[in-house]
């Protein structure tokens, strides 16, 4: 049953038997299934476009050709870069401010009382609802878009960080206190690492929110960007180009999310159960 039946506890073999080995068997690869469902989706799409009486429903081939043209003349890269730059600027600013703000809210009653009502209220306002006001005040340039994306990212991430700090196991805080840790040490060595998984969840939500806000703001008014590209294509009924834009937005968002997930796995591998 348990190896502790023997009485020589310093025997490494006995203790080795006690160790819990996680993930003893690698799960079967999902890749074939993923490929199969991709092909199935493309097939259904092709079938739908071929059988549709509406000539404006683009086939996969039309979209691929349109995509290639947009790559060749540099339009896609220029617009994707513009969009990505805005998302990164707004997202990085938002998260960079949200993490300290969330820590302050979780740690100090004063900060919680002063900040939380605003955060809770603004959370119920979709960032898109601010776009008209922001455009009037800041114009249609970069500032307006970065600001709206910043706000969307900030709101998503600040609450997750705050929750993370509030959820730190009080036993761990006590364990640090009885080892002689002061407030600052507890904050740096217990609260920060313990809330890291929550912060990552917040960052991933923030990223999704940032993309949604970006595209909406570019659709309304922008000189460049994937949203702008789709807006122009709409005027010429170039549905194939619109689909290229949709796929591009999805791909970029997906890749950034995977990047965050990868970072999270590396930084919070210590978790017993993944958040």
């Amino acid at each position: 049953m348990t190896p502790a039946m023997t009485h020589s506890t310093s025997d490494p073999a006995v203790l080795a038997a006690e160790i819990v080995t996680p993930e003893s068997e690698p799960p079967a690869s999902m890749l074939p299934l993923y490929l199969a469902t991709l092909l199935l989706g493309l097939g259904l799409w092709w079938l739908a476009s071929a059988r549709s009486a509406n000539a404006l429903v683009p086939s996969p081939l039309q979209v691929a050709v349109a995509g290639w043209e947009l790559v060749r003349d540099g339009t896609l890269l220029a617009n994707a870069t513009a969009s990505l730059g805005r998302v990164m600027a707004g997202f990085v600013l938002g998260v960079a401010l949200a993490i300290p703000a969330g820590f302050l809210m979780g740690w100090y009653r004063l900060a919680r009382g002063l900040v939380e009502p605003w955060v809770q209220f603004m959370r119920t306002v979709p960032p898109l609802a601010l776009i008209p006001l922001v455009i009037v005040i800041l114009g249609i340039g970069e500032d307006a878009k970065v600001f709206v994306i910043f706000l969307a990212s900030f709101l998503a991430c600040v609450l997750a960080t705050y929750q993370g700090v509030r959820n730190v196991d009080s036993t761990l805080v006590n364990a640090a206190r009885v080892l002689g840790a002061g407030d600052f040490t507890i904050f740096r060595r217990v609260v920060v690492p313990a809330s890291t998984p929550f912060i990552f969840v917040g960052m991933r939500v923030a990223l999704g929110s940032a993309w949604a806000t970006l595209v909406a703001s570019e659709l309304i008014a922008a000189p460049t960007g994937l949203g702008r590209m789709m807006q122009v294509a709409t005027q010429f009924l170039q549905t194939d180009r619109i689909v290229v834009g949709i796929i591009m937005i999805g791909l970029l968002g997906f890749l950034m999310d995977r990047l965050l997930l990868w970072a999270e796995r590396r930084l919070t591998a210590w978790q017993e159960v993944r958040a």
Partner: protein
């Protein structure tokens, strides 16, 4: 006249009470408890849930402050937690993002020790609890017993003068628990620290202690203090001896039959092992 206990006792609890006020009224968790614990003693606290034994431990540890009365450690009033009093929690409370070694080094880092000395002390205490080959393992890779060994090494590493243990073996299976008890006693005999140890298990209370403090609930009070005049080192032989059985029976009666009829209907105490089941666990 007796010698003044202030100079003698490692821990001196005088008329300590702890009262919690909530919307539903006042709860007296601890009611005017007095207890002197001598240096190097091994005290176990037993009693049903709600008897205030954890409260008492937290008062000594400085994680709680008494509502009235005072708690002195080495003659000085406790004003907060400190590295002179090591605490072992039932839930292990290892920092899950740190390796076993880094956990043991946590308190040493706070004391400002250099990397080389930290590593040396950590290795010494990991060896003491038999984890010398698992320094780099994360807590999630350790079994329950190993986690608690690591927590014990972490508490020992900062060299506290007393150890406060809150049902440290409560989450372990019966066999691992017996092993941990023997290891704890072996370590205690080497280091001779004062130990205050909470348990639900009457067998465990008698096996470890030089004195068993029996507590009763509502309000939390000390109902009886039972000496255990059995020599250390203790072993299985002693566990099965008539002398042991006799003391166990006394503690058993102290825990179960004090005001038993009054609260047995409202608070069943399933956590307390019956004598028959505990003695089966010995073999």
């Amino acid at each position: 006249m007796n010698t003044p206990p202030v100079n003698e006792a490692a821990i001196s609890i005088r008329n300590a009470s702890k009262v919690y006020s909530s919307a539903r009224g006042r709860t007296v968790s601890l009611d005017r408890v007095s207890l002197d614990i001598a240096r190097g003693e091994f005290i176990t606290l037993v009693g049903p849930s709600g008897c205030g034994k954890s409260t008492l431990l937290n008062l000594i540890g400085g994680l709680l402050m008494p509502s009235s009365g005072e708690v002195l450690v080495d003659g000085r009033a406790v004003t907060g937690p400190g590295p002179d009093r090591g605490v072992i929690f039932q839930q292990y409370a290892l920092f899950p993002w740190l390796s076993a070694r880094q956990n043991v080094e946590f308190g040493l880092r706070i004391q400002g020790l250099g990397a080389a000395e930290r590593a040396e002390r950590a290795q010494h205490y990991l060896r003491l609890v038999g984890l010398q080959d698992f320094g780099d393992a994360l807590p999630k890779e350790l079994s329950g017993g190993m986690k608690q060994r690591c927590a014990i090494a972490r508490a020992y590493a900062v060299n506290p003068s007393l150890l406060l243990m809150d049902e440290p073996f409560g989450a372990l299976d019966a066999l691992t628990r017996v092993q941990m008890q023997d290891d704890l006693l072996a370590t205690w005999q080497q280091e001779r620290k004062t130990v205050v140890f909470i348990t639900h298990d009457v067998d465990e209370a008698v096996y470890l202690a030089s004195r068993v403090v029996v507590m009763s609930p509502r309000p939390g009070r000390i109902s009886e203090i039972i000496d255990v005049p059995l020599p250390y080192p203790r072993d299985d032989e002693l566990r099965l001896s008539p002398a042991f059985a006799e003391i166990r029976a006394r503690v058993w009666r102290g825990v179960h039959h004090k005001e038993g009829a009054a609260h047995a209907t409202t608070v069943p105490s399933p956590a307390i092992d019956s004598p028959t089941t505990s003695s089966q666990g010995d073999n």
